[in-house]
Amino acid sequence: MTGPLYLAWRYLAFHRWKTAVLVTALTLIFFIPIGLRVLVSQSSEQLTARAHATPLLVGAPGSPTELVLNSLYFGSDVPTPISYAEADAVASTGLATPIPLHVRFRVRDRPIVGTTLEYFDFRDLRISEGRLPATLGEAALGAAAARVLGAGVGDYVISSPESVFDIAGVYPLRMKVSGVLAPSDSPDDQAVFVDIKTAWVIEGLGHGHQDLSRPEAAAGVLSREGNVVIGNASVLQYNEITPDNIDSFHFHGDPGAFPATAIIAIPDDEKASALLQGRYQEDASVQIVRPDDVMSDLLGTVFTVERYVLAGAVIVGLATLATALLVFLLSLRQRRGERETLSRIGGSPGSIRFLMGSEILFVLAISTGIAVLLTLLASRYGSIAARMIAGL
């Protein structure tokens, strides 16, 4: 029985291009619907899991989807900021622990996430090297961000201007990397974490500069009247926070009025969650959303699209299957002379049918094998690929 199998294999190997085309077509027929299902299912699971793990989000009125995508996945547009005092307002209810977020700036294409230390506990993020930021101007990198930026503990990363024409805009701050986080297979891997006060420095709400009361800053003094010193444009402002100049960094204005893009609220229990949502219902200046609900709505749309895509894939698959069948039938007809030769040299009709069938089975087996492999790869790395494609 090995003879016909060998002949079938040699036939496929000889007609390698035809075989390759057939295998590719059949592989795609098998893989596309299953792989798509796996990818969508994984992505939705991951998106849902992160949303599910984030009980409530407080933000400015506007698109809840934008608020959730920015706060949970650090993508989308920057939502309208709310005041940092809102975090204090949430805390003062005694119903929830607030974690402020400031997600606006970037280091190259990596998001700078300004937050407080509670975030790391909340997301269960662990340091793999170094330590969490301890002072203004320090940053902890997500595992993927560290790899992409090529930075490790002791290196520096620089915040990027929001626009190339934004010469007088955000503060391009040179930040020292204090630590690198262990991989968490989440958007946190992509982020550059700083204390929210560092984000405010980048925004220009706090800064460090020469002490205008000292003689060496005389050139930067426009006028001096009693305790009032007016500086001119030449006053040296620092774009890096070092142990030598950190004392000169200060904030102007009421910190409660400083911006946060969102506040994560962690209620004590379901009752506290309901009470907190109730309190915000009549407040038109902010909105409170359940990321789980927002993502469910979003994924509902995604699933509708997925059903259309699947239907399309099935139709295309059936057409491709019919074409493959035609190819096999035409091939068999074309090989009538070959079958007669085999018969004349003593091949039984059964052996000849087995030979021809083996060729089809080989093609189907190889296609199925590759499709299974691709599905396994999709289930292993699909979520990462999906995030990269979605830019989240």
Binding site: A87, T97, P98, A134
Partner: protein, 326 residues
Amino acid sequence: MSSKKLMKARILLLGPALFLGLSACSGDGGDPAPGAEGRASSEVAGEGAAGSPPLLVYAVNYPLAWFADQIGGADVEVRLPVPKDEDPAYWNPSPEEISEIQRADLILLNGAGYAGWTDRAALPPSRLVNTTREVADRYIRSEETVTHAHGPEGEHEHGTLSFTTWLDPTLAIAQARAIRDGLSRERPADSAAFDSAFSKLQAELLALDSALERAARSLDGTPILGSHPVYQYLAARYDLDLRSVHFEPDEMPDAAGWRALERLQSERASTLMLWEAEPLPEVRRRLEREYGIRTVVFSPCANAPDVDDYMHIMRQNAQRLSAIAE
């Protein structure tokens, strides 16, 4: 305990707590900080009353560390991270030291701009207790405010508040109360013990208040000088006629310092100067001989003393003040 459960236990005191640090003028002239790596005044407890490990509490100055130790007892492990020869108001911890402080269950701040490093450090807001938050309306603006302007944001001020709040025992009671509330929030099961210890401390502070009031009354409105601008809350509480210079106990003032003193004396002559620690003998002699000013040590006790404790030193302050008035 899961991180989420930990988070749930820690609420309140956010925004302002981030910024309301503090800053006192000096410690006790090189006094050590017994809490530098351990308890403020008593030994580190192995376990709390309920068998749970003691709460790890960091304080930015000795008075707060001592209050926490008195209130928390065996349920807390109080640490004062400031080295013995540093002034807690101006001490700057290294990032590694801040990293240690980040592990605390509670971080006690003085408020009123004390310990400026807390404004520049990444500290967990849910674990910060600004002990003067509830009495912020009693903050005293500093005489020395530098206003400057540069850039588009215009005029702004640096160094605006006086910060040795605990020299007013009624403010000290408010600070102790904030500590009690913070501890109770973290460890509700022990709140009765915290309440009881706080009541005892409050009684001691009220007695101190009475002693200081008697001492201040015995001064009978005598204009007095502070060797450093750290006595504003003391003066406000007891209606003292007090102005300050910038003399260091271990240094001979420079010519500008003496000129500043002469300017103050020409405006209204004082016969008494409060010092954070014993001044140099030649400074004391010159003050007495040339200006007729007697000196008396009134220690703010910002850093931990070598011997005795906060209450003992404050009582000594009151006694010295009474004695010099007689």
